[in-house]
Symmetry: C2
Subunit: 413 residues, 2 copies
């Protein structure tokens, strides 16, 4: 028995008309004899409405009660959609997280899936063709309701596809796939027909809001074929897969950017062992994620340390650093919010040298100064002045010829 998992976001289930379009998508694999798990988000706007209510009721809504409140959103869309399918003679029923059950840890608001009872799901398939699952939710071992964080329905869908060994996990959304870069910035942006899990992880962590990062991690871990596509047309979208030879022959797959960066520089701190630890330990304790770090000697026995945090963490970070400034011997602490990060991403970098050189040269040709560089196996990131963001994205996109389909037509991306 083939199983297909489909996930539809809030804008795809916003009203009856939208849900009818969703039903049309559901019928396709059904008519080919597959059984379906359909994972739904809350109707567009509903989660925000509930959050606003909670904030009216409590200045600091307790996360456990928040999850009880928020899970109603998906409960409503799942039950309504099951009604619609039944009214159209499709054997369907809704399933809530606790009913399957989808067990999670007890981290309310950001719970992680521990296990899913796939035997129970297969049992339901004896009676139903379509299981309509409320996304975003699970329960802990004490029957408390939990939620998986914003975008958590993606993770619900991929996790269900993993345990059921689904043929494919289709993520329907309001964009029609994953692009080489943001089409709003670069008119040359091209839809990728395939992307490697690792590339998608880098894209997602750079703010490409197509998928929740956790869902991509899940897909990678369990090798789930994920198909990102549009609810509103029938074009094929982008397939997330394990990287293969064809992918590795391509230098770069995409260009991403992140404007939510802030830079902090400590000037002339003592250049001695342990100094970096004394800077970054208090940040880690406070739960602040430090992204790029660079350290370079200034004058004798002294060094400058520069790093970036998200704009939202800047004020807290600055206060932490000022507390220890004198211990570090720092002459000053400077901050800058007019920065952004552009990155080129591609699994091909693993086997090719010279990618960084192409990127730096292209930026230099446009007189874009690079403030910090950081690299990983499949990514090169440059911090630049934020006014150059769009120019840098277009420049890099062109430098790597991303507007053109790769030569290997068979494995075109």
């Amino acid at each position: 028995m083939d199983i297909v998992v489909q996930k539809f976001g809030g804008s795809s289930v916003a009203n009856l008309e939208c849900m009818r379009k969703v039903m049309a998508k559901v019928k396709e694999p059904l008519e080919q004899g597959s059984r379906l798990v359909v994972v739904l988000s809350a109707m567009a706007g509903e989660t925000d409405r509930l959050i606003a209510l909670a904030e009216e009721w409590s200045q600091n809504p307790p996360p456990a009660e928040m999850d009880v409140l928020l899970t109603t959103g998906e409960q409503v869309s799942a039950s309504l959609f099951a009604m619609l399918l039944q009214a159209n003679h499709i054997r369907a029923r809704s399933l809530l997280g606790f009913q399957i059950p989808i067990h999670t840890d007890p981290s309310f608001g950001t719970a992680r899936i521990l296990d899913i009872d796939q035997a129970a799901l297969r049992e339901h398939f004896k009676k139903y063709e379509v299981l309509v699952v409320a996304g975003f939710q699970g329960c802990d071992i004490n029957h408390n309701l939990t939620t998986l964080g914003r975008g958590g329905s993606d993770t619900s869908a991929v996790a269900l596809a993993a345990v059921l060994q689904a043929k494919v996990c289709e993520i329907y959304t309001d964009v029609d796939g994953v692009y080489t870069t943001d089409p709003n910035i670069c008119s040359q942006a091209r839809k990728l027909s395939r992307i490697a899990y690792d590339e998608m992880l880098e894209m997602a962590s750079m703010g490409a809001k197509v998928l929740q990062i956790r869902s991509v991690e899940f897909a990678k871990k369990y090798n789930v074929p994920v198909h990102v596509r549009s609810t509103f047309n029938t074009e094929p979208g982008t397939l997330l897969v394990q990287e293969d030879m064809a992918m590795e022959s391509v230098l770069v797959s995409g260009v991403a950017y992140d404007k939510n960066q802030a830079r902090i520089t400590l000037v002339d701190v003592f250049d001695e062992p342990g100094i970096a630890a004394s800077v970054f330990e208090p940040m880690a304790t406070a739960g602040i994620v430090v992204d790029m770090i660079v350290q370079n000697p200034s004058r004798e026995g002294r060094t400058d340390i520069t790093f970036t945090v998200s704009k939202g963490d800047l004020e807290r970070s600055k206060r932490l650093i000022e507390n220890i400034q004198s211990d570090l011997g720092a002459r000053g602490v400077f901050t800058d919010t007019h920065v952004s990060k552009v990155s080129v991403i591609g699994v091909g970098m693993r086997n090719h040298s010279g990618v960084a050189a192409i990127a730096f040269k292209a930026l230099q040709a446009e007189d874009i100064n690079i403030l910090i560089i950081s690299t990983s196996e499949i990514k090169i990131s440059c911090l630049i002045e934020d006014k150059y963001t769009e120019l840098a994205v277009r420049t890099l996109h062109e430098a790597f010829g991303l507007e053109k389909e790769p030569e290997s037509a068979e494995f075109s991306r």
Copy 2:
């Protein structure tokens, strides 16, 4: 440990301001050292909103999915109220039907409670002072969500009070107690300080919408002291209790009426054994409740059969009867919707004769013709022309002196 159960209806939790008033009610027993179970309905209007959605999505919404949808209403109010209590430093948490669990049979939409895990509830009281329970809902043994029917939160509250052997089950509502009759019809109506379970059952089945009938049955069965009172003032309301000597010394406790009656008459059916069964068996099979029945011989070998059903069942009933009309030898089937039922109710009737005579004489004095009479141990009901309903209610109320407190001041009702 004293446990108090409080139940608040939709208008009592309609918004934040209302919920603050509810919190004040909760604080009273709390300050006296009691632990509380607070049962909430959905916020006013929410259940109707969800029903309207379902009817948009499906012409005939399946009851199982309807229950998944409707239970979100109480889930929202319970979580919000738990947030409010926590924000005010009261140790509280929400509990949904399936979490307790409250086990019911699988009759979606009209489920009956089978059992409640009271040990689990007591366990929660080790950590929390107030358990905020979503009313109206439970789950069957297969983890399907179920609902207890309109007004089901009353039954949730009384059932919880029963298993926890609560000191009292307070039902807060927008009226301030149970009256001798409808104050909108009879300005002399008087609030009862106490009423026997059996009397309340009769009142409730006559459309006095203060309490769901099932909740009164529960209260009677488990001898739960139920206090019906107003959310919006601090006056004592009406206490539902086992009948006692003081009650039995009073002839009549209240006058009820029901305008939702329709009369069907079969004229000149064969007067032979089994004829009544052949009329009422098909009705029972179709789930139609027949209320009053009278049979009286017309001409030789023939008899007229008259009975009442609710107005909503009239058309279906008529069709059923017309199907078998010729088998019965009936000369005609007549229907009449311009009828209503007035009843006098009182446990005192068990020990006193002459109550019926007083009632009939009073109606006769106003020239109100009685179409059908039916009696039970504690009730006398008369079907009359509906235009006389209000007059009949006032007449009977006066005939039994209900405007006056009974003489025994100590056990005043």
